[in-house]
């Protein structure tokens, strides 16, 4: 039963990643794309956690923690760029 | 005391985070965690603001429970709105006048608002007196402002800013 649940969850999370990719490609504005990237990294964490449970390996957590930190820093850096982009004239 | 242990709460927190990161309760990792928790606050002393005194721990606890409950409700409400589609939402910006004065209080309030039902704090006026909040489905802006002030701002003020 657990295996079936994990497989369904894989399908749902993969579909979620597909939806964020669609938003990333279609935009239309720059904040939309950054938001899509932000969601993409959270979905990637979900996928890694599922993979860790599926393969019974705790190693995937190191990757999940790294993605959580780097993703947040990336979002903040991109937002700061948007906020100061037209300050440097 | 203040020189050698500048942040009495930060030290055990850092030690706890280290133990969680190492994922082991071995004496070695606890010791290393305590060492890091002791050294990091000393080397980053200039960065930290003065620690805020917590006045009423019970109010803080009740506030955390209220926020936890609201996060669950937020998720269900927002999920329902998303599934129903875009024709049923009434997005709006509301301006919340702030009674909070401290930096810690305002950032706590802003983060709480972003974590709970269909609202994201979007903008703080430069004089820190107005917080602009974007709501996903706002039926009555005045009621939303009133709820935010009563449910979140009042407890934060009681805990961190009461004199």
């Amino acid at each position: 039963m657990l295996n079936i649940a994990v497989l369904i969850a894989f399908a749902l999370v993969t579909a979620a990643i597909g939806l964020t990719f669609w938003r990333l490609l279609t935009g239309p504005d720059r904040p939309d794309r950054i938001l899509a990237l932000d969601t993409l990294y959270v979905n990637a964490i979900a996928l890694l956690v599922l993979l860790g449970m599926h393969l019974d390996s705790a190693l995937y957590f190191e990757a999940a923690i790294l993605i959580a930190m780097m993703g947040f820093i990336g979002t903040v850096a991109l937002c700061k760029y948007l906020l100061r982009g037209d300050i440097i004239e | 005391m203040r020189r050698w242990l500048p942040h009495p709460i930060l030290t055990p927190t850092l030690a706890l985070i280290w133990v969680l990161l190492a994922n082991s309760l071995a004496p070695g990792s606890i010791l290393l965690g305590l060492l890091l928790g002791w050294l990091i606050p000393i080397f980053t002393l200039r960065f930290w603001p003065d620690p805020a005194p917590v006045r009423r721990p019970l109010t803080l606890l009740r506030f955390l429970l209220v926020v936890g409950y609201d996060i669950l409700v937020a998720n269900l409400a927002v999920a329902w709105l998303i599934l129903r589609g875009a024709n049923h939402i009434r997005p709006a910006f509301v301006e919340v006048p702030l009674d909070l004065r401290s930096e810690l209080g305002i950032s706590l309030l802003a983060n709480t608002i972003s974590l709970t039902p269909g609202t994201v704090s979007s903008w703080l006026s430069p004089d820190r007196r107005i917080l602009v909040v974007q709501g996903l489905d706002v039926a009555d802006p005045e009621a939303l402002i009133e709820t935010i002030k009563r449910r979140y701002e009042t407890p934060i003020r009681e805990v961190f800013e009461s004199c």
Binding site: - | I82, S114, S121
Partner: protein, 119 residues
């Protein structure tokens, strides 16, 4: 019993993750899109992490608690990135269904020297 709990948590987590991204894809303007991911994903990933914590703790290797770190980190960072994204969008005057208060536009460009601005 354990298996049922795990199954329910995993399914709840996956469904909320999916609904969050669905909101991102479906909603009409930037500010409404912001609500889906920042909320639904925190509880989605949150319950997946709790499931994983239970899963690894009940195995022979012993207790596993470092999932708490990721959960905590996501709960602290999600509102911050939502606020920054929203602030950037207001700054760029992104098209929106709801009218931003005139106050924002008036002070956003005048108030750059304030401690609050990120310049």
């Amino acid at each position: 019993m354990l298996e049922i709990t795990l199954t329910v948590l995993i399914l709840i987590g996956a469904i909320f993750t999916f609904i969050g991204s669905l909101g991102l894809a479906r909603m009409p303007d930037f500010y409404t899109r912001l609500h889906g991911p920042t909320k639904a994903t925190t509880i989605g990933v949150g319950s997946l992490l709790i499931a994983s914590m239970i899963h690894f703790s009940t195995q022979e290797a012993g207790l596993s608690f470092h999932e708490v770190l990721v959960t905590l980190f996501l709960f602290i960072t999600a509102p911050v990135s939502a606020h920054l994204l929203s602030k950037a969008a207001l700054h760029l005057r992104t098209r929106s269904l709801s009218e931003p208060p005139p106050l924002v536009d008036a002070t956003d460009h005048a108030g750059r020297n304030s401690p609050d601005s990120l310049s």
